[in-house]
């Protein structure tokens, strides 16, 4: 009986950990876009289930990469910026329909500046 209880607990803990690990992923998957800039430009990103993403401006794709989630931390890797990996904290707000990125580590200055300014809304 004890053994069964332990197994249940183990599975329970595992399920909870799995849930923790997956909740952010399902929160982020899909299409996100900025509001139009003063010049009318719209920047967006699609996070795919297969841990890839595509960024675009005005429907023009400009960056492809892979991402990994751990809790509310996202690690991204793309061919630009010399393939340097970057880590950001995901900040969801407005009922998780808006998203911004707080840099944790990113040595690519241009990307870091761009990410800091970016606020995305979920495209429904």
């Amino acid at each position: 009986m004890l053994k069964i209880k332990n197994v249940k607990e183990t599975f329970g803990v595992a399920a909870f950990i799995t849930l923790l690990a997956f909740v952010p992923k399902y929160k982020i998957i899909g299409r996100w876009e900025t509001k139009p800039s003063p010049k009318g430009n719209i920047t967006g990103v699609v996070f795919n289930k297969d841990n890839t993403y595509e960024g675009y401006v005005n429907k023009k794709p400009f960056v492809s990469g892979t991402y990994r989630l751990r809790g509310n931390t996202i690690t991204i890797e793309e061919a630009s910026c010399n393939g340097v990996k970057a880590v950001y904290k995901l900040i969801f707000f407005s009922h998780s329909d808006s998203l911004r990125f707080d840099p944790i580590s990113d040595s690519c200055v241009e990307r870091k500046e761009g990410m800091k300014r970016t606020i995305l809304g979920r495209v429904k």
């Binding site: 430009n41 675009y56 400009f62 061919a79 630009s80």
Partner: protein
């Protein structure tokens, strides 16, 4: 029908009208040909009187997001750029004041400017109208876009997908050709300056800095398959020539001065990789050009 009702429509009328050249024989569109993605199909274009230009005509498509203009970046806005070819003696060779007098004398143009800008034609408004038209020439419906933005994996061939990987990795193209139009707003020396037969110093002519000798604006790549020939001097006739050059620049152009460090060593692309890279570049062609006959 274009009745000049908006700034963009007025700009289009002006873009195609030879009224802005000294002898009224050429328009902006004489060199920026719509069928070649608003670029020219000759190495360098001819201005009034058949004068040969010095540099390859860049496309005026997909300029809305660009921040520097001309191969040497001497214009910082599309408006600033728009007037320069009108005055350039090698191009349209018409002083702006003379151009404005012509437009004022033309009843229809005078009326269009008054309707849109509430005044007679000015240089600022002329530039604004031309720039506004050029900003409408955005393209985002290439097979590549269908694949990446609209998520249709069947929009491109396996060769294109492999070519995109070469573009991003082994080819190192992405290091400069990054962004929505596949170009950073920067200048690079790719090794087409040797101070002898290749003596256009590019950006250095504007910045007056010897470090910039041989640097040119990174060319955007959308519709690149229809904008041959290539480079600032139009010296490469085909995309294959361009890829061969980048694969081993020193072999094609020996003795280059200050070639960018990204291009120090040959890339070592296989024939398959070169073909795939070309397929990828062709996939950046908007459907306008894929389905329209030239």
């Amino acid at each position: 029908m274009n009745d000049g009702a908006s700034k963009e429509e007025l700009g289009k009328l002006l873009f195609f009208d030879p009224i802005l050249s000294r002898d009224s024989t050429i328009s902006c569109a004489s060199c920026h040909k719509p069928e070649y993605a608003f670029a020219d199909n000759s190495a360098t274009s001819h201005g009034v009187g058949g004068i040969q230009g010095r540099r390859n005509t860049p496309s005026t498509m997909n300029v809305a997001l660009q921040k520097i203009f001309f191969w040497d970046g001497r214009a910082k806005s599309l408006e600033e750029q728009a007037l320069a070819p009108i005055e350039n003696p090698d191009e349209m060779n018409l002083p702006i004041d003379t151009a404005l007098k012509r437009l004022k004398r033309s009843g229809s143009y005078s009326a269009y400017f008054k309707r849109i800008f509430n005044r007679e034609p000015t240089g600022t408004d002329l530039a604004g109208a031309l720039a506004a038209f050029e900003r409408t020439l955005e393209t985002s419906e290439s097979p590549f876009d269908q694949w990446k933005f609209y998520k249709d994996p069947r929009a491109v061939s396996d060769a294109v997908k492999r070519g995109f990987i070469v573009f991003n990795k082994k080819g190192k193209c992405i290091q400069c050709h990054f962004g929505a139009n596949f170009a950073l707003d920067e200048f690079r020396n790719i090794g087409l300056f040797n101070g002898k037969n290749l003596n256009d110093s590019g950006r250095a002519g504007v910045s007056r800095s010897p470090k910039d000798a041989g640097k040119f604006k990174i060319a955007p790549l959308r519709n690149v398959a229809v904008t041959a020939p290539y480079m600032h001097n139009g010296m490469f006739r085909t995309l294959k020539d361009v890829i061969e050059f980048y694969n081993d620049p020193g072999k094609i152009v020996p003795g280059a001065i200050n070639r960018d460090s990204l291009l120090t060593k040959p890339l070592g692309l296989t024939q398959q990789e070169k073909n795939d890279l070309e397929s990828f570049l062709i996939s950046l062609t908007d459907k306008t050009f894929l389905f329209n006959n030239k």
